[in-house]
């Protein structure tokens, strides 16, 4: 029969899990010229709680998209304060790939990401605030509506409020209608806000 059974050394058949490589070894491997080896090092670093710093530093120089994805996965799974603040910091990056990768990674850890959302929503950089709203879009967390309401009540930047309003239309409850009315009053001369707020009110009131 042309179906052949692979030799037993080929797959780890019910043997106990292997020992992890040391963080020092994996750091050396992360500098390899072979992207496949770098990916594996990044994924194996999950076994090392202190790996976040090494991964965050490497991420800034990493050219391969697949290695970057592996790093983002490990950072999200490590889910420690260093990983979290490092990922949040990438929201300021000029590199769109890094920014998007960080956004996707932050979405993967809703509970921990939630702890930095209020700080990110009051960041002086309006782009960071808008990107944070895009994280909220798929962050499964009960405070999303509350955060969005706080943005439309307090943020002075038109585009930030517009982004929050757009999302509020999708996830908001009738209780957010008062905040939308107040937003309309704050930006009476902005046609987009007036249009989006009217639409939001119609949808929110429908529940």
């Amino acid at each position: 029969m042309p179906l052949i059974r692979p030799s037993s050394h080929d797959v780890a058949s019910e043997s106990p899990p292997e020992q992890a490589h040391s963080l020092a070894d994996l750091t050396v491997q992360l500098a390899s010229s072979d992207a496949g080896a770098r990916r594996l090092a990044a994924l194996e670093m999950l076994a090392h709680p202190k790996a976040s710093k090494v991964l965050l530093t490497h991420l800034k120089e990493e050219a391969s998209a697949t290695v970057r994805e592996a790093i983002f996965t490990t950072l999200a799974r490590l889910d420690d304060p260093a990983a979290l603040s490092g990922l949040a910091e990438f929201l300021r990056s000029e590199d769109a790939n890094l920014r998007n990768g960080a956004i996707e990674a932050l979405k993967l850890t809703p509970d921990h990401t939630a702890s930095v959302v209020p700080k990110l929503l009051s960041d002086p950089n309006s782009d960071v605030r808008i990107l944070t709203i895009s994280i909220l879009e798929s962050l499964r967390h009960p405070s999303v509506e509350e955060w969005l309401v706080a943005v439309i009540e307090n943020d002075s930047h038109l585009n930030v409020c517009g982004a929050a309003l757009d999302l509020l239309v999708e996830v908001g409850s009738p209780g957010a209608a008062g905040a939308v009315e107040r937003l309309k009053a704050r930006f009476p001369a902005e046609p987009y806000i007036q249009f989006a707020a009217n639409l939001a009110l119609k949808r929110l009131k429908k529940g």
Binding site: I4, R5, D10, E14, R39, E44, A65, T73, L108, T109
Partner: protein
């Protein structure tokens, strides 16, 4: 009959977190009854005093035997032969012609089924190749089927199936590849010997380190049980397990595009599959 051990909300949450870390499988509150029943059964089977002492055993037992036994209890293993059969058409008509075009003669084609469950899927693939793929005369094919549940792997190796499992198997194939044993049907010895069954945990990178150089991966209806981050970890594992240009097939309600951007989408007449990019020279 002994009274079942009551599991408190705090204990359920504690267990849920532990089990998720170990296996990548997350239970929401709708699974509470299912989880409680199985926990309670294992607490009694191990003669543990209460949840607390059982949880200690689970976490600190050096052999990890109890953790494996509980994992076996907690995993769902309902499947049947030729489930979602458009994927088998896709394998024969679309995927294998692409794979063989790139491969050198003498190099085996490697297929990984994860999860193996009780073996219906890997044996369906084996039968499909033997019956419907002319290339089987020219190429060696290796089929490796893995699961986190060691109990179900033993069942897969034994290859005994109920009427329910074989309901989609045409009569002529049933005669050719199965032997009726009492109320059940056993898959032929040749096929049982052709598939390698192994234990693997997708949530543990060290566990899957040796799963490499596959051309095709079937991972259907597993990722729906995972949360977002475990799905992404699984996607990374599959990426590294595949040859460049290798394919992965997911269940009908699953989409790799929503999990990770590292695969390319391939639309074949039989359906959508995902391909590991081939590096540009």
């Amino acid at each position: 009959m002994p009274e079942p051990t009551a599991i408190t909300e705090a204990e359920f949450q504690k267990f849920k977190e532990f089990f998720y870390r170990k296996t990548g499988i997350s239970f929401d509150d709708s699974k509470r009854y299912f989880v409680d029943r199985r926990l309670s059964d294992r607490i009694q089977a191990t003669k543990s005093e209460d949840f607390r002492s059982y949880f200690m055993l689970l976490r600190f037992q050096a052999s990890g035997e109890e953790c494996q036994l509980l994992t076996n209890e907690m995993t769902v293993n309902e499947t049947y032969f030729f489930r979602e059969d458009h994927h088998f058409d896709c394998l024969v008509h679309s995927i294998l012609p692409v794979i063989t075009k790139r491969k050198t003669k003498g190099e085996p084609i490697r297929i990984w089924c994860m999860p193996s469950s009780s073996g219906e899927e890997p044996y369906s693939i084996a039968i499909t190749l033997l019956e419907r793929w002319p290339g089987i005369n020219d190429w060696d094919v290796e089929i490796i089927a893995s699961d986190i549940d060691t109990g179900i792997l033993n069942k897969a190796r034994a290859g005994l199936y109920s009427e329910r499992s074989i309901r989609n198997v045409p009569a002529h194939l049933l005669r050719k590849y199965f032997i009726k044993t009492g109320h059940d049907y056993q898959i032929s010895r040749d096929l049982r010997e052709a598939v390698e069954f192994t234990r693997a945990n997708l949530a543990e990178p060290l566990d899957t380190r040796h799963y490499r150089e596959f051309d095709v991966i079937f991972c259907r209806n597993l990722l729906i049980y995972f949360d977002d981050i475990s799905r992404r970890t699984a996607a990374d594992t599959f990426f590294d397990a595949l040859h460049p240009g290798g394919f992965i097939l997911l269940g009908h309600s699953e989409s790799m595009s929503r999990i990770s951007p590292i695969f390319n989408v391939r639309r074949f007449p039989e359906g959508i599959v995902y391909q590991k990019p081939v590096p540009i020279p």
